[in-house]
Structures are given as C-alpha cells and as structure tokens.
Symmetry: C2
Subunit: 204 residues, 2 copies
C-alpha cells in the first residue's frame, strides 16, 4: 500500500521503518523537501522510502499517518492537504480538554478526510511491536467516524502484531478525547516506574 | 479503626459496608443527620454503623473516605471540617483540567488534611473486591503529599484485597490530575464494551 508518514521525529521514524519492513511504499512528509532527517531516513532504508513535503506525501499516500507533534498537527496538515485522506495517528496533544480533542479538530479542519485516532496511548516502540511486553497481550484503542477507514487501520494494526481481541473500537472520533486525556496518567505512571515500555491491558 | 464515610450513594454504601465487614467502626456522614439513606444503611447493618452530619462524621473518624460526588465534594467538606483529616477517596469530577484536580482543590481547601487520592479509576464494586476479575490482578493508583497517610491508605487497600505490587504510588497530590482525567477513557471503554466491571492492568 502507498502510505504517507507526516513527521520525521522518533514516532514517524518508528512507524515509517515498520511500514517499509512490512513491504509498503512509504513517503516521509515534512515541512520542506530538503528536510535532513527525511533524507537520513531514505538513505537508512537504501532508497526504499521517498521523501517530500507534506503536500507531496499527502498526494502520494492512500493512507496518511500523522506523526507530527500534537501542537503542530493542524498547522502542518493545513499545508495544502485538501484531498480525502486518512489520518491514522497523531501524537497526543497536551492541550487537553473535556469537550474537544485534537482528533476532532483535525476531522473538523479536513471534513473530507476519514480521521482515525489510534496508537496514541503508548511509547512508539510498542506501537509497531506489541510483542515486546506481556506476550503482546495488552490494549490499543481506535476511534473514528468512518467504519471503512477503521477497518483499514485495524488491518495495519494487526500487521504490526496487535491481536484482534486487543483492539478496542471506542466509537466515533469524539472518543479521541478519552485517549488523549489518558496522557497525563501515562506520564505519571512513567514518572513513578521510570519505565516507558509499558501499556495498559483491560481486564474484566 | 474509626472511619468516617462521607456520602450515602452507591460508592459510600459499598465502601462503608466493606469497612464494617472488616471490623472497623463506621460513621456515615451526610448533609443532614436525618438522611434517609444513612438511616437505611445503619439499620441494614444492625446498628453496627452510626450516622450523622458531615461534621459529626469528620469529628468521629481517624480516616475519612470522601464518597460524595465530585461536583459537590468541596462544598460538602466545607461544612465545618477544620480538623487534620485524611480524605481517602473521592469520586472523579467531570470538571477535568490539565492544570488542577479535585484532589488538589480539596488539599488546598483543607491544608491541614492529608488528602490521598485513590480508587477513583474503577466501579465501586471492584474497589472493595478486586478479586472479582482477573484473579485480583489489576492496578490501583494512590497519590498524596503525606507518606504516612499514603501508608495507612495502602493498608486499607490491602485489606480490601489489593496486592502490594498492584498498588502504584504516583507521587504527590498533583498526580490526581492523571487519574481524574482517565475518567473519559473509562467511560468510553464502558460504552464500547457495555461492561463496567473492568479495570486496567499495567503490563511491562
């Protein structure tokens, strides 16, 4: 599949590398086409990836992973993205609110896109390699308005190693509020345990 | 131990009943001493509990469980509570904020009290009976400024059936923010699974 990864930080690098490993065609998107990190990424993967502006990447990808930082997401995505797109992931924003979320804002800003919020509740290493802890048995959430887009994202999650029964569909994109507001608890657990390689598992 | 339970709703009833079962002396506190639910509680427990105003209960208890609803907590607690007290639990408020919490507000309002936030991340039945799911193997958080008070609360949690290694001390009372902000995710999981008898377990 042709996939765009917006953002060349640690999250974009991790997601992009895994997608290449899985055989997808990846274009890394950044603010300028001359982005050094994007160039490094392409050379690290022996030319199996491409790099371009956000606009280039968005035109290229059937699916777009938003791996830009929370605060800059909408600004970054506004740089000429007007096609019907999937935004599959964004890192959580600290601008937490009980009546809105970054996921919803992105959906509102790009009404033709099918935004799916997922993977924002854990360290990026675990996103693409859940088997790293507890035999892969822990929880990941998805939310979004479009069932077809959620199904596609679910398939990608499964290709990352997530078990079907550990992928919980919370409902529409407004459910991004809950997963974004979980971030402070994540940070407190990390602070108390000094270990970021953890996740939560729903038990009942 | 002499323990006050403020609030006579489902949470207060559950916590109070468990404390009586464990042999503690319990006084239920409510807005008025003639509260019907408090009277019912006392008669249900064959007079093993007492009932009174918030002030009566607070004077009685060495430890106070705040089981009033989030929105009304401070108002309720202000009704003449001026002694050095432990407020061991309060139900989470929906007035979620990234820079404050109900736990901190209570601590600020009652600076001589040793506020400990705990148990607010699950259904009340699980609070006092963690063994109900997953063999009791799931997580509970505590936060507060006073180590002695946290130690006392930890002992009570253990008497409820919580295993030492599943009680995570997140730090000072500002960490109440994280556990309070988890509520929306809790509600979304509940909404998606139609089952409130669940909890999260930290795996690493």
């Amino acid at each position: 599949m042709k996939i765009a990864v917006l953002g060349t930080g640690i999250v974009g690098d991790t997601i992009g590398s895994k997608l290449i490993e899985l055989g997808h065609s990846v274009m890394m998107g950044s603010r300028t086409s001359a982005n050094e990190k994007a160039k490094d990424f392409v050379s690290k993967h022996n030319g199996k990836a491409d790099a371009g502006t956000y606009t280039d990447a968005a035109s290229f990808g059937e699916i777009i992973f938003n791996c830009t930082s929370g605060g800059g997401s909408i600004e970054a995505l506004k740089m000429d993205l007007a096609n019907p797109l999937d935004f599959s992931k964004e890192t959580p924003s600290l601008a937490i609110s009980n009546t809105n979320s970054l996921g919803e804002e992105i959906q509102k800003t790009f009404p033709k896109a099918n935004v799916v919020k997922t993977l924002n509740t854990m360290w990026c290493g675990l996103m693409v390699n859940p088997a790293m802890i507890n035999g892969g048995d822990h929880s990941v959430f998805i939310s979004g308005n479009d069932d077809g887009a959620k199904k596609k994202v679910k398939e990608i999650l499964k290709s990352f190693g997530w078990a079907e029964n550990n992928i919980l569909d919370l409902g529409d994109i407004s459910k991004a509020r809950g997963t974004e507001m979980y971030l402070p608890l994540w940070l407190h657990i990390y602070g108390a345990t000094k270990n970021g390689v953890f996740n939560i598992k729903i038990v009942s």
